[in-house]
């Protein structure tokens, strides 16, 4: 069985909120939309987002580090939000494991949001239905898009590639590899919800440098003694400004 999910790398997330805004843009204009705001320019703004980025400070000053923590529905494999729904509006897709709300069936009783321990669902005050991350179901299942674009909007937007998307049940997927090799973890696994989304922890940076990268390919300013090749003819660097 396929279980699509996100693997979010806390090691590289810079907290730029590109995923938040691209999510809001795509989903407001897509099948999940709109994601309305209330009083967006006033003192007390509010609105529906599928994805929020929070920021935490770890450690004691001056030895502190900042961790940005993107937070959205984890598409649990055993989602407590689904069985409690009285209308069947909340469901988990059989084919790819994405947890969705059918906005035409939802009566807006908010019971599902009480059952989700992660606070991943948000009530839409304008349309009076429950909304949540769809993993951009209208992108990832749209066969008219080129394959590299069949990804959630947040994944496409992330400038640091902190969001890895894939099937966590396929051991060969990039998502599964990242979980396996980089110490991926679930949020509160003891709750038994089996979140499909994983997070990659802060870890020691490893830079991979190969031998060739240490040797200069050219030497335009001739500042160093070692000249990589004999100066028979001019290179492009020699003539360009």
């Amino acid at each position: 069985m396929t279980q699509l999910a996100l693997v979010i790398d806390l090691n590289v997330c810079v907290g730029c909120h590109a995923c938040v805004t691209s999510c809001k843009q795509w989903n407001t204009s897509g099948t999940a939309g709109p994601l309305p705001d209330q009083r967006p320019y006033d003192d007390d703004p509010s609105g529906v987002f599928f994805n929020r980025v929070q920021t935490y400070e770890v450690g004691c000053f001056p030895d502190t580090e900042t961790v940005h923590f993107p937070k959205s529905c984890l598409h649990c494999e055993d989602p407590p939000c689904v069985p409690v729904c009285p209308t069947g509006a909340s469901y988990k897709r059989e084919d790819n494991g994405v947890v969705l709300v059918d906005y035409d069936k939802c009566i807006g009783c908010k019971y599902c949001s009480w059952a989700c321990p992660y606070g991943a669902r948000e009530f839409d005050e304008n349309n009076k239905v429950m909304k949540k991350c769809t993993l951009c179901i209208d992108r990832i299942t749209d066969m008219s898009l080129p394959e590299e674009e069949r990804k959630p909007a947040c994944v496409m937007a992330c400038p640091t590639s902190a969001r890895i998307y894939g099937d966590v049940h396929d051991p060969e997927s990039a998502a599964s590899k990242a979980i396996r090799e980089e110490g991926g973890y679930q949020l509160q696994p003891e709750w038994g919800t089996k979140p499909a989304n994983h997070y990659l922890p802060r870890r020691k940076q490893q830079i991979h440098i190969s031998e060739e990268e240490l040797v200069r390919a050219d030497n335009p300013l001739r500042k160093e003694d070692e000249v990589p090749f004999d100066q028979q003819s001019e290179t492009l660097d020699d003539v360009a400004w």
Binding site: D44, P45, Y56, E57, V58, V67, K71, C109, E190
Partner: protein, 326 residues
């Protein structure tokens, strides 16, 4: 959790409706066994059934204010296999129909004996309908309470005590209303219903205090560190991801001070359990018909405070991600 008035009214009002019906039916069974004087079908049982129905309808009406799309409420009957809310949505109308039939049968006077069981128990139509309705009334208490008790992440609710309390608080207030109703009608069942109301009130007090004590012992099995999965003793939230409020900061927190919440608890303990018992006791001696009505009124006010506290008391784990309300 944020206490919503629609749900406070729903749960308290239907609890009274169920309790009042059960009181009426208890009265009918007692008089059948000649333990109580028989009552007038129309004036007592039909009218009493109507009053119970009014409370049930009022509760149902209040519940619609909780829904974003009340016009789709019928859909909520579909997931009875898994959802206690769905089960309540089915059982409540069934119970209302049965109470309506019970009142109607009494009103039309269709109370001729249908058959007699072992020459002693005279069975008529109202007795049969009432019997089924009584079972459904208890099923409804269970459904209503299980909506909350089944949510395993809300530890304050996830306990059999929730079911016990919903049941006994409903019974207490329903019998209290029956006593008030008898006093109002000038029927000498005030002592009977009043005694039962006091018994149920005291039982409910034991259950409610037990749950208060249990919830006081509860310790979070999670903290900020486990919530975000960063194992470090020093963690502080710097931003919650947005400037203003959101559903997450509104729905899961009462936004009142700890002192206010404590006062609500003291208030409901006084109004639900102490004042009505004192008033009923006083009404025995003073033969007053106002006191049972006052007892019911105070208990209902107290029940609203009790339900408010019930919601406010429950700490949702999602609040960990919003340290300002955690």
């Amino acid at each position: 959790m944020h206490p919503a008035f629609s749900v406070i009214f729903l749960t308290t009002l239907i609890g009274i409706g169920q309790g009042l019906f059960l009181a009426l039916y208890t009265g009918q069974v007692y008089s059948l066994a000649n333990l109580l004087p028989g009552q007038d079908s129309q004036g007592f049982y039909a009218l009493g059934g109507l009053v119970a129905l009014v409370f049930l309808v009022a509760g149902l009406f209040a519940s619609f204010f909780h829904l974003g799309h009340p016009e789709r409420a019928w859909r909520a009957a579909s997931q009875w296999r898994t959802s206690w809310l769905s089960r309540e949505v089915i059982v409540l109308p069934v119970f209302m129909l049965l109470v309506f039939l019970f009142a109607l049968v009494h009103y039309l006077g269709w109370t001729q004996p249908l058959f007699t069981v072992s020459d002693a128990l005279v069975v008529d139509l109202s007795l049969i309908i009432g019997f089924i309705a009584s079972i459904v009334a208890f099923a409804l208490y269970i459904c209503t309470a299980m909506i909350y008790a089944s949510l395993k992440f809300l530890k304050e609710w996830h306990s059999p005590l929730t079911v016990v309390n919903y049941t006994f608080l409903g019974l207490a207030s329903g019998f209290m209303l029956a006593a008030a109703f008898s006093a109002y009608k000038g029927i000498d069942l005030v002592a009977f219903f009043g005694t039962w109301a006091v018994i149920f009130t005291l039982t409910a007090a034991i259950g409610r205090v037990a749950s208060l004590m249990r919830n006081r012992q509860l310790r979070n099995q999670y903290d900020l560190s486990s919530a975000i999965g960063v194992r470090h003793p020093q963690l502080a939230q710097q931003t919650q991801g947005f400037l203003g409020g959101s559903f997450n900061t509104r729905e899961f927190f009462h936004h009142k001070s700890a002192g206010f919440v404590n006062n609500v608890r003291r208030l409901f303990l006084l109004l639900v359990f102490i004042v009505p018992v004192v008033l009923i006791a006083a009404s025995y001696f003073l033969q007053s018909e106002v006191l049972p009505m006052a007892a019911f009124a105070f208990q209902y006010l107290g029940l609203m405070a009790e339900r408010w506290y019930f919601f406010a008391e429950a700490k949702h784990p999602q609040n960990m991600y919003y340290q300002q309300i955690a």
